[in-house]
Amino acid sequence: MNAYTVEVRITPRPGLLDPQGKAIQHALRSLEFDEVDEVRVGRLLRLELLADSVEGAQRATEEMCRKLLANPVTEDFEITVGGRRG
């Protein structure tokens, strides 16, 4: 088993109203960052986990996302498996 650092990026699904993103966009506009068309707010989870391979770490994390970490009705997820540590 190897140790991996896995990052899970969870974002609101496209088309779904993201009131937090909207509020931040308005704040940016009021600071005259007029070039900002859209802001979407999600969250980043960093997991330290043991797996036999990168694929194994990816598979395990996908299952975690489907079961708990993301809500498929409202969120998309993206997994990045970092290099093995130690």
Binding site: P12, L16, P19, L69, N71, V73, T74
Partner: protein, 244 residues
């Protein structure tokens, strides 16, 4: 009526439900701690409001995996009456006992206020004491109460009369402004029922509107509906047992 009220760490409306059922209705209720794995004798299960597990990750996402939840799922699968109020509604959605999800309120604030609800379907075990179209004066108290689902799900809910409560404005109209739809729920949805008609979730708090002292008694109808439904079913069972 014999209700089991599930208490999670962070539940805070469990006693309100208990009082509504015992003191106001004179029926039986008891608490079931979330670490238990059986519900025991009950003909109604309530997932009360609160902030189970601090609303970490997503509201209801962690409570949905509490040890008691498999028993709650079985109870519902066997046709038992299951009511989720506020955080309880969020847990029911996370547990896929009801479709859709509840996300951050459109105004981005926690909303603790009175709302007007229109009874869209009075032909359920939860709403038979109301009349169709009746306007109820209830409270909401939530940060994540904006109901979302994909269009196909929303259409199916409406086609089957499974939207049970809708937010409306002072004129009784389901408008999409802050007055008519305070949390920005899709199609003003405040409460829905499952396909089998035995699982209901709603964001507003009927248990906080059961005595004149509380400012409204409009929530009482939900509990008397359940009591009457359960007593009628018990009477049917007794008649059937007597006839055999």
């Amino acid at each position: 009526m014999n209700a089991a009220i599930v208490t999670f760490p962070g539940s805070n409306c469990d006693y309100d439900c208990f009082k509504a059922i015992t003191d106001v209705l004179g029926c039986e209720a008891r608490f079931v701690w979330h670490r238990e794995t059986a519900i025991g004798e009950a003909n109604l299960v309530i997932l009360p409001g609160g902030f189970s597990y601090g609303d970490y990750l997503r509201a209801g996402a962690i409570a949905r995996f509490s040890p008691i939840m498999p028993a709650v799922q079985r109870f519902a699968a066997d046709g038992g009456l299951l009511l989720g109020i506020c955080n309880g509604f969020q847990i029911l959605c996370e547990a896929h006992l009801l479709p859709g999800a509840l996300i951050r309120n459109r105004p981005l604030r926690f909303l603790g206020q009175r709302v007007r609800l229109r009874v869209e379907n009075a032909d359920t075990p939860f709403t038979s004491a109301y009349s169709p179209g009746q306007i109820l004066d209830l409270h909401i108290a939530h940060g994540e109460g904006s109901y979302v689902a994909d269009t196909a799900t929303l259409d199916a809910l409406e086609a089957d009369q499974r939207v049970v409560f809708r937010y409306v404005n002072a004129q009784g109209e389901a408008t999409d402004d802050d007055d008519g739809n305070p949390n920005g729920s899709m199609r003003n949805i405040a409460g829905i029922i499952n396909e089998a008609g035995n699982v209901l979730g709603l964001m507003p708090h009927p248990e906080r509107a059961v005595e004149v002292l509380l400012g409204s008694t409009d929530g009482l109808g939900l509990f008397t509906s359940l009591r009457d439904h359960i007593e009628a079913a018990q009477l049917d069972d007794a008649v059937a047992a007597g006839a055999s």
